[in-house]
């Protein structure tokens, strides 16, 4: 294990920032239990992400020349193929996030394999890609999941929370699965999401101050980069791609790109770099 401060990111950079977005659209629990089809107001809330917010976000990433990874349920790719193709065309990564945002904790290993196979087929047919990354929808997964992911050709996951740098998850018969852990602190849902019926957050909590949210994120970024760590985000176009909040991201990106000691990378590049480094050890 490398010591803090000893990490050498590519291009001699001190820290690594892997911007990542979960393009969930209207997928998730309400779609899985069928209640979504009697709640047009809630469907449109979710569908706003791929339909309206994504394009604005891609424009912002292009303006700052920042690469990003989009974890996309394959159902969203089926419904909004052109919007999702634009992610690829603009040089970003699309990675696995279930078919309809199934909780991998709640489904059997066979069902997990089926979701991965169906997603791979859709990504291939509509986007012309073979994805190599995965973020588990709705939090947790099963003990069998790393094996299922490696069997499906996945080399990295960004599903866990408990560390500041990539690490290896051993998988029998395979090279290890690389884990690029995220943080609730860098999840826009924790600060900014609000819906009623279904209520989220459950307590109907307040939308946080944008300025304070940006300050939180900037402190997390500065702290991680100063210590030579790897930081990723769990941002959602439908939440932080709204008109007022895209200005928040613009301010955040201005802050991030003011430093010249940061390696901005897609998650797949981080994972590939990490695997190479492991070979040297």
């Amino acid at each position: 294990m490398q010591q803090p401060g000893a990490v050498r990111w590519p291009q001699g950079k001190r820290g690594c920032m892997a911007l990542a977005f979960d393009l969930d659209g209207p997928t998730g629990d309400a779609m899985l239990n069928g209640s979504l089809w009697s709640t047009p107001e809630y469907f449109t809330f979710g569908a706003y992400g791929p339909y309206r917010a994504l394009g604005r976000l891609l424009d912002l990433l292009r303006a700052f020349e920042l690469p990003a990874t989009f974890f996309v349920p394959a159902w969203v790719v089926e419904q909004w193929p052109q919007q999702c193709q634009a992610i690829i065309e603009q040089g970003h990564e699309v990675a696995y996030h279930g078919y309809r945002h199934e909780s991998f904790w709640a489904i059997s290993p066979d069902e997990q394999r089926a979701v991965m196979a169906k997603s791979a087929e859709i990504f291939h047919n509509i986007l012309g890609i073979t994805a190599c990354g995965f973020r588990t929808p709705s939090g947790d997964w099963h003990a069998e999941t790393p094996q299922i992911l490696r069997d499906a050709g996945v080399i990295y996951s960004s599903s866990m929370r408990g560390d500041d740098r990539p690490y290896s998850i051993p998988v029998a018969g395979h090279t290890p699965l690389v884990e690029i852990p995220g943080k609730w602190e860098m999840d826009d849902y924790a600060s900014l999401a609000y819906t009623r019926q279904p209520d989220f957050p459950k307590g109907g909590d307040r939308i946080a101050s944008y300025a304070h949210t940006r300050d939180n994120w900037q402190r997390e970024f500065d702290g991680a980069m100063d210590e030579g760590l790897c930081l990723t985000t769990l941002f959602h176009p439908k939440i932080s791609g709204q008109p007022g909040r895209i200005l928040l991201l613009e301010q955040l990106f201005e802050h991030m790109t003011a430093r010249d000691d940061v390696w901005f990378a897609r998650c797949d590049a981080v994972a590939q770099w990490y695997l190479q480094e492991q070979q040297h050890d």
Binding site: P26, G34, L36, W37, S38, T39, P40, E41, Y42, F43, T44, F45, G46, A47, Y48, Y51, R52, G55, R56, D59, Q79, W80, Q82, Q83, Y194, T195, R196, Q197, D199, P201, K202, G203, G204, D205, R206, I207, S209, Y210, A211, H212, Q242, P243, G244, R245, I246, L247, L248
Partner: protein
């Protein structure tokens, strides 16, 4: 995103000020357990007693016309307030007859609620009602066509966009909402019964104003439709009316078309149909069974 302006007269963006005037009927629908609890109900009666006056005074001061959405029962209980709104040139729109939870109604019952509500409101105001906002709950398939048949020309009930759009298969204009542009997610509060359920703190006023101001700057930069959804009992207090005054000051310093919902909807009739990938179109295709997704 750079798109050509969608708005008349060279305006860069549009803003619509909607006020939900539900008195106690809004909270009774949202939290039926409050029935008979006078202290709690008085929190929501405050709008009728004090908040509407402050809002009307501010709107007159700013020379702005707003759209007041209400169920007919509120207008029947407070006709003098409604007539003052009308006399001041504001628009009156319908939130059903009794502020019913539409999720509990059949399509026929939903249509009956809108029809009764519009008839009563038209009788009180002396003008036909052309706008609708769902009081609570969700639409049944077929409601959009029924609204058009009854002379409704716009709704402001769904989400899914930053620009108006059409309900699929009709020219009923939807003026979509964002939770971020509502006062309730920031300020609604009651101790017992707990509203909101987690009893989170009332948000800081200055930070809320800063959020809503930044939201406006985003909508304006991208040429969109900034639709506020406010409540007289929430925004119409002596301490909060100043937030709205400051926000309206900001709007009036920009090249924004501040329109009533009816004016914005009439303008939108000049715009093309929805993109096929629009959320409303995708939803309608799916519940139509094309994908066999829903049970």
């Amino acid at each position: 995103m750079t798109e050509p302006s969608r708005w008349p007269l060279g305006f860069q963006s549009a803003a619509i000020l909607t006020l939900d005037f539900n008195d106690i009927h809004g909270i009774l629908t949202q939290a039926p357990a409050v029935a008979g609890r006078d202290k709690t109900l008085s929190v929501w009666r405050y709008g009728t007693l004090r908040g509407v006056d402050r809002l009307l005074a501010l709107l007159a001061e700013k020379q702005l016309k707003a759209t007041w959405c209400m169920p007919a029962i509120v207008a029947e209980e407070q006709p003098e307030l409604v007539l003052r709104m009308v006399a001041d040139g504001h628009e009156i729109a319908c939130s059903g007859d009794m502020h019913e939870d539409f999720s509990l109604l059949t399509l026929e019952q939903q249509i009956a609620s809108v029809t009764r509500g519009c008839d009563k409101l038209a009788h009180i105001t002396g003008s036909p009602i052309v706008g609708f906002r769902t009081p609570a709950g969700q639409w049944k398939p077929g409601l959009a066509a029924a609204l058009i048949e009854r002379g409704i020309r716009w709704s402001s009930s769904w989400r899914g966009d930053d620009l108006p759009y059409f309900h699929p298969g009709t020219r009923l204009v939807e003026l979509p909402m964002h939770y971020t542009l509502e006062d309730e997610p920031y300020f609604a509060f009651n101790l017992s019964p707990a509203i909101p359920p987690g009893q989170s703190r009332i948000a800081p006023y200055a930070e809320t104003l800063a959020n809503m101001t930044q939201d406006f700057h985003g909508f304006h930069r991208f040429g969109l439709c900034y639709l506020l959804r406010l409540h007289p009992e929430i925004i119409g207090t002596a301490g909060r009316i100043g937030l709205l005054r400051a926000l309206l000051d900001t709007l009036q310093q920009h090249n924004v078309w501040i329109a009533t919902a009816e004016q914005a909807a009439a303008h939108w009739q000049t715009q093309p149909d929805n993109d096929v990938s629009h959320p409303a179109e995708v939803f309608t295709r799916i519940i139509g069974g094309a994908h066999g997704e829903h049970a």
